[in-house]
């Protein structure tokens, strides 16, 4: 088990290294790369000074090695626009993103599984059709638009919930206030993640329900509820858990947009600020952090997999 986790983490480090290589060279070899930032309206001497300050006067592979040397010691460089260390910015912004991510993942998982079970049990009847319509809508409606519509409805018209931010500024820590700020962004994000959970749950339940041992359980006269809970759910959860890894990837993409809609000061928002300001070190840091989170989530999912399905052992 420990060996398994260690091996997976090591593989993760290799993937992260590849991601950093890909991202770094993509950015630095592009015609509009960092060196072009300092071209406007400056004398040659000023330009050279700035290039030297950010180490941009050296060849690209040397720059990468310098960056990598820092990165393994936790130094991801300095933000061009904010002048602060990238690791400092990331540490500041990761909390809100994790809160939003965990909340929307939990909502999507709980409601997705419930709706998926309902759709499977009432297959081809109206509840199934309602659930499938909801899923198709969740896949098609742009989540940032849904966010705006929710702001119009709940903040502008009804005034029930705040329109943006993750807490009321100057109010001190207040759990109720934080939760009220969380409802809209987490709900909207969950709505766009849910279709995947619903689809997988429905298919898994239908498959298990058709299996021999469920027929046996029914034949020996068990009531329907215990067939569903004891015999069907547990097996059906395996593909759903497997799905969570993929959902985490979609979640990070989605949070970039949703954090901007709701002015949520997380990693996604930082990524957009950095992209608009062409703040290369920050973009690189954010991409790596997102990759690392995806890797960690996937390892966690695989471990959870063994809990749900005892046939799987990570020796």
């Amino acid at each position: 088990m420990t060996v398994y986790v260690a091996r997976r983490l090591l593989q993760g480090v290799v993937v992260l290294f590849l991601v950093s290589l890909l991202t770094f060279f993509l950015m630095h070899l592009a015609p509009g790369g960092p060196s072009s930032l300092v071209d406007f309206q400056s004398t040659a001497a000023e330009r050279d000074a700035r290039l030297a300050r950010f180490g941009l006067d050296r060849p690209v592979h040397e720059r990468y090695l310098v960056w990598l040397g820092g990165a393994v010691r936790g130094d991801l460089g300095t933000s061009i626009n904010q002048g602060l260390p990238v690791s400092h910015l990331l540490a500041q912004r990761i909390g809100p993103t994790l809160v939003l991510g965990v909340a929307s993942l939990a909502l999507a998982a709980v409601f997705g599984v419930i709706l998926g079970v309902i759709a499977a049990l009432r297959r081809d009847r109206w509840p199934d059709h309602v659930v499938s319509t909801l899923s198709t809508l969740g896949m098609s409606v742009p989540n940032f638009w849904l966010g705006i519509v929710m702001i119009i409805l709940f903040a502008v018209h009804l005034g029930w919930l705040p329109a943006s931010g993750s807490y009321t500024i100057g109010g001190g820590f207040d759990l109720g206030d934080r939760l009220r700020h969380l409802i809209l962004p987490a709900g909207v994000l969950a709505f766009s993640l849910m279709p995947n959970v619903v689809r997988v749950t429905r298919a898994a339940i239908l498959e298990v329900m058709a299996s021999d041992y469920v027929r046996t359980a029914r034949a020996k006269g068990l009531i329907e509820r215990s067939v569903l809970i004891k015999h069907t759910m547990r097996t059906a959860l395996v593909p759903v858990v497997a799905m969570l890894g993929l959902i985490a990837t979609v979640l990070f993409s989605g949070s970039v947009v949703i954090e901007s809609v709701f002015g949520w000061a997380g990693i996604g928002r930082l990524a957009i600020e950095a992209a608009n300001g062409r703040d290369y070190p920050v973009i690189l840091g954010v991409t790596l952090l997102a990759g690392a989170l995806v890797i960690v989530v996937n390892i966690a999912v695989d471990l959870l997999y063994a809990v749900v399905d005892p046939r799987i052992r990570h020796d």
């Binding site: 509009g32 198709t136 896949m139 502008v156 979609v250 992209a275 973009i283 990759g291 995806v294």
Partner: protein, 289 residues
Amino acid sequence: MTDAARGSPEAKKRTRSRLWKRVARQPLGIAASFLLLILILMVAIGPELVPHEPSRTNPLNVLQAPSVEHWLGTDELGRDVFSRILSGGRVSMSVGLFSMLVGLTLGVGIGGSAGYFGGRVETVLMRLVDAFMAIPAFFLILVIITSFGNHPVTIVVTVGLGFWAQMARIGHAEFKRFRNHEFVEASQALGGTHLRVMARHILPQVMPQATVLATLGVGWAILTEAALSYLGLGIQPPLASWGAMLQNAQGYLWRQPILAVWPGLAIAVTVLAFNLLGNSLRDVLDPRS
């Protein structure tokens, strides 16, 4: 059924009528096709017919509610929203279609080669696919847009790149499945080049699945482009795009909230039509799933 019987005209007719029966069982898909046809006609010829130029401003007539003169009202610069929706649709739909083509070509090309050749080619290409899958698509897109700028062609390629790895996985599996089939071996024995075998013999077998994914892919690409434009990183003014219109509208939520409704509705209806069509195509072309 023998191969000779399969080629006979009657057999072909039988297959075709079976296919039509399956199509007839998909009312949602048929409705979605008609809706798409109407949407495409609207954005293709609509901008030529509307009385208001999409980018003509009118400072005396800003943020108007919908009226007979301006069907969907006017925006913060007094431009006609209906005209802008139509011309924005041209941009959004073209980006969606071309991005899908980029993703599909790259994915089937690279994934297909990996599956067909196997061995070291397969290992290298599929590890590349894994690395791309590890980065959440949106971050990859941000990296590329920041580096290469937001020229429309760059956006098309970038959005396509966010989608190719998924296509490659499927191309890989399918080409691998057909690699050892007799018709492939026969063609190779007759001296067919690898390219010919892949393009003429395996590709047609993969087409049904690819069509389904391509249809769903257009929806995804339209959503992604809209999100990019909404964030200010996509198609730039003066070109209208649905995402950028939403971004502008968000600044006027308290004064004219209806302004934020139209572009989102346009995106949602278009993507919904592509998704419904894709799901129906899956049921018709790929009965296994």
